[in-house]
């Protein structure tokens, strides 16, 4: 059973490390069932492993985008509407920008959107779900109503409408809009989870031990929802990445940002189909699919962490 060891145990701290290690492996074991470390489980699942590798690739590309991109993605010093050439692997845009550089830098945008919107909507969902589930009573009634409202309000039209009402168009707007439309599902799941957790004896016991509500939520409840939160985060991030691309494709994105969605939008407007610039049109779509696929694949593993039914599926 491979438990990822805490970084570099120094000999002098050996005993303590051992304890810590035991403790952590316990934590992980719990979190994921009676299992070896979470990473090991994810890694052993073949789908998930592939997903992790792809994602790692994207993260690296995004991190080193400035180094990897051969040119400034917005520099339009090149001949326009080129097909793939040695200098421009995926050709140039109608404005003479290097498509490959845009693709590389676009990875950054997608990951940032995924991360930020995922975090934001997870956070909002968590706070609202937790409050509703824990407080109960009329607070719950109101928040549940909000959650249900958030669930029935159609997301894309709302995104489009919100994007239209806002005075500025930027990546953060997109992130905001996606979070606003994406929190409800997570909130509902977290609410129902917390409702089952709330009535657990150990929560009542914590109250008998004199702990306050905030502490109970933070220390007793949230740690038990970790896998739920992670799955929720992945789902939200995935939706956000797709959402950003869709909005950008509709022309509701931030044209100053290079993203795969804006690339597709511009490829579509810029006549990539007529000029036969296949690479320009296909590349952003495929990379987008690949990134989303990686998330989906990882989700298989994460689902398996919390749902033993899925674990046997290989």
């Amino acid at each position: 059973m491979s438990t990822p060891a805490p970084a570099v145990p120094t000999p002098s701290r050996n005993t303590q490390t051992a304890v810590e290690q035991g403790h952590r492996s316990g934590m992980r074991g719990r979190l994921l069932g009676r299992q070896p470390g979470w990473f090991a489980i994810l890694w052993r699942n073949r789908k998930c492993r592939i997903g992790l590798l792809i994602l790692a690739g994207f993260v690296l590309v995004a991190l080193f985008a400035p180094v990897l991109a051969p040119y400034d993605p917005r520099s339009n010093d090149f001949p326009t509407s080129l097909g793939p050439t040695g200098d421009h692997w995926l050709g140039t845009t109608v404005q003479g920008e290097d498509v490959f550089s845009q693709l590389v830098v676009g990875a950054r945008t997608s990951l940032i959107v995924g991360l930020a919107a995922g975090l934001l909507s997870t956070l909002v969902g968590l706070v609202i779900g937790l409050t509703a589930g824990y407080a109960g009573g009329w607070v719950d009634e109101i928040l549940s109503f909000l959650i249900n409202l958030g669930l029935v309000v159609p997301a894309l039209p709302l995104m489009v409408t919100l994007a239209a009402y806002s005075p500025v168009r930027g990546l953060w707007l997109i992130i905001f809009v996606i979070s606003v439309t994406g929190w409800a599902y997570g909130a509902r799941i977290k609410r129902s989870q917390i409702i089952t957790l709330r009535t657990r004896d150990y929560i009542t016991a914590a109250r008998f031990a004199g702990d306050g509500t905030a502490r109970i939520i933070a220390r007793e409840i949230v740690p038990n929802m970790t896998s739920l939160i992670v799955v929720g985060f992945m789902g939200a991030a995935l939706a956000a990445i797709g959402g950003e691309a869709g909005l950008a494709f509709l022309g509701l994105g931030d044209p100053l940002t290079v993203s795969w969605g804006t690339m597709l939008n511009q490829a579509s407007l810029g006549g990539a189909m007529i000029t036969g610039q296949w690479a320009w049109l296909i590349a952003p779509g495929l990379t987008l699919a690949l990134l989303i696929t990686s998330f989906t694949l990882i989700n298989f593993g994460i689902d398996a962490l919390s749902n033993p039914h899925l674990r046997e599926d290989g």
């Binding site: 309000v153 159609p154 894309l156 039209p157 709302l158 489009v160 869709g246 509709l250 189909m273 039914h309």
Partner: protein, 331 residues
Amino acid sequence: MAYFARRFAFFLATLWAAVTLNFLIPRLQPGDPAEAIVSRIGGKGQAVDPAQLEAVRTMLGAPGGNLFEQYVRYLGAVFSGDFGVSYSYFPYSVTHMIGEALPWTLVLVGVTQILSFVIGTLLGTWAAYRRNTRVDSVITLGSTFVGTLPFFWIALLLIYVFAITLRWFPERGGYGGGSSPGWNWLFISDAFQHSVLPGLALLITGPIGWIIGMRNNMVQSLGEDHARLAVARGLPERRIAITYGARIAILPNVTGFAIALGSILGGTVLVETVFNYPGMGRLLLESVSNKDFPLMQAIFLFTTIGVLIANFLADILYGFLDPRVRKAENS
């Protein structure tokens, strides 16, 4: 009964919230509807003539009175189906425009949604029935991969391949210029031809969610004791798969399906945009890019109400389908 009463109360409350939000959002927005209309009428870059502005404002019956009075008037108007005049289709009313776009969306998206659900449920059932076999892997993995392809991108490719290169189907629009909308065979076949590609685009990605959901639910319910007992009782495999697996597994999908059906009203912005399909989605996007607030609001309200009604009906249906629900609600 209590269950339905509760659902109905929720329905009314949400409806009210949606209508009110719709009232408030544009009012938080700076700017003057009359000005928006004038700048639409006059075209871009034209300096606005104050006299014209005033005339339009009078014509629109620009909002007067305090917020509450406006609100009451607005509620009255909404419930009598009067959403005002569309800026981008002036002088046509919002209701008229929605009436034009709705049938297209209803047919295209409605049919594909239902088909997606049916196909997805069948495939999901099949995968669960043959779980952990090759059929299962092909269905699950295949749909996972296809499901991640960007939707609009598939649409673009479809256009390129089938409309532009092969010229099998028209590349865009809901019908051709030659036919005239109506209940004649020419028009219907024309409209059908036009709907093939957008329908296909929707059908490629549509069933995925249902497949995965159905499969996982069913694997779960087949693992439960009552299904195992059914095996012990010597029931035929098929009967178990249907009554003890699919019959239960489909329940959680019903609400999702209802929401999907309800959101038909909003159209599918991306596909309709790519295919220039004259439905609600494109109307919405257009109203957005033209800042046609009355139209935008109305479409949004429509969509929300659609989902709400569908949701409400689904809840009721669910109450019949799943005897456990009413009980659960009560406790």
